[in-house]
């Protein structure tokens, strides 16, 4: 098995951090964009780029509440996203065991 077996959507430093951070939330919870940014330390533009890729793959959902300056965006991992992280973790372990 090679590193190619790892899900390329997760196997990038920023997206791995995003998915791992959101997976630490209990199922059914969401995290605000700003808190996620604080926890990971990415710039807003960088974070948006990676969130969009993950959302396109249905690994996470986002919800915007409020309008104008008071608006707030929250993101949450979907069941598909959690399953993808589980598979990624298992594949990573198998790869490391084989090294």
């Amino acid at each position: 098995m090679t590193a190619d077996a790892l899900d390329p959507l997760i196997h990038a430093p920023a997206r791995l951090q995003i998915v791992a951070t959101l997976a630490a939330l209990p199922d059914g919870d969401a995290l605000s964009f700003t808190r996620l940014q604080d926890m990971i330390g990415l710039t807003p533009g960088n974070l948006i780029t990676h969130l969009r890729k993950l959302q396109d793959a249905d690994y996470l959902t986002s919800e915007k509440t409020g309008n104008g300056p008071a608006s707030r965006t929250s993101v949450a991992l979907t069941h598909r996203g959690r399953a993808a992280l589980d598979t990624y973790t298992q594949t990573l372990r198998a790869l490391l065991d084989g090294l």
């Binding site: 590193a3 790892l6 196997h11 990038a12 430093p13 920023a14 997206r15 791995l16 951090q17 791992a20 951070t21 997976a23 630490a24 939330l25 209990p26 199922d27 059914g28 919870d29 969401a30 995290l31 605000s32 964009f33 700003t34 808190r35 996620l36 926890m39 990971i40 710039t43 807003p44 533009g45 960088n46 948006i48 780029t49 990676h50 969130l51 969009r52 959302q55 249905d58 959902t61 986002s62 919800e63 915007k64 608006s71 965006t73 929250s74 949450a76 973790t89 990573l92 372990r93 790869l95 490391l96 090294l99």
Partner: protein, 224 residues
């Protein structure tokens, strides 16, 4: 599904650089642990503060009642120290909790609110029963000593034990059961000794829990 990211920035940055599997495993583990720590308000330091609060608060009440013959109950000065320290404890937990859960929304927030309502009802019931005991003519040593010194802790401990069991949080379950046992055992120390027994017992239990928390946080691959 609509995209809702709107921060007014146009900056974009790609991060597709290859990750070595070992590097990826380290990053995954580090991120997971940092996220769990950041989202959890509990910490060994907060527990150490709780241990000190328990010892000093119950100790102050014990000092205020140890020379009473017959037993009348905690003096106003003893109660002021007790409630001031309890308020400090509550404020420290609220501060840590708000900081840890900032930006978190969803099911767990609704569940916590419901749990708070249930706990408030249980604590109110403890004091309603206390009033009923006074009304029934129970002695000061029972009402203001053995009962109030143990019932509150037993209710709090039992509630937290049930909550921890549902979440499969075994360390918290152990702590909760230990608190219930300390409170129940302290009832045998009598109306004066119950305060000292509760204070020392809780302090020891909380110190042990703090050490366990610190050990879990340092242990590689821990889920603390």
């Amino acid at each position: 599904m609509n995209r809702t990211y709107d921060t007014g920035t146009t900056e974009t940055y790609e991060d597709e650089g290859g990750l070595d599997p070992r590097e990826a495993a380290r990053l995954l583990e580090r991120t997971r642990r940092e996220a769990e720590r950041g989202l959890d308000f509990r910490s060994p330091w907060l527990t150490l503060l709780a241990a000190a609060v328990a010892l000093v608060a119950f100790g102050a009440v014990w000092l205020s009642v140890r020379g009473q013959h017959p037993y009348k109950g905690p003096t106003p000065a003893g109660l002021v120290v007790l409630y001031a320290l309890v308020l400090i404890r509550i404020a420290s937990v609220v501060f840590a909790h708000r900081r840890a859960t900032a930006g978190v929304t969803g099911r767990s927030v609704r569940r916590r609110n419901a749990e708070g309502a249930a706990l408030a009802a249980a604590l109110i019931a403890v004091y309603v029963v206390m009033a009923a005991l006074v009304n029934a003519g129970a002695s000061d040593s029972v009402v203001y000593g053995v009962y109030v010194g143990t019932a509150t802790l037993i209710v709090l401990g039992t509630f937290w034990a049930a909550r921890s069991a549902v979440r499969e949080d075994w360390l918290q379950l152990g702590l909760s059961i230990a608190i219930v046992l300390v409170a129940a055992g302290s009832a045998f120390a009598g109306p004066r000794g119950v305060w000292l027994s509760n204070g020392v017992g809780l302090c020891i239990v909380l110190l042990a829990y703090s050490a366990a928390q610190a050990w879990k946080l340092r242990a590689p691959g821990s889920d603390a």
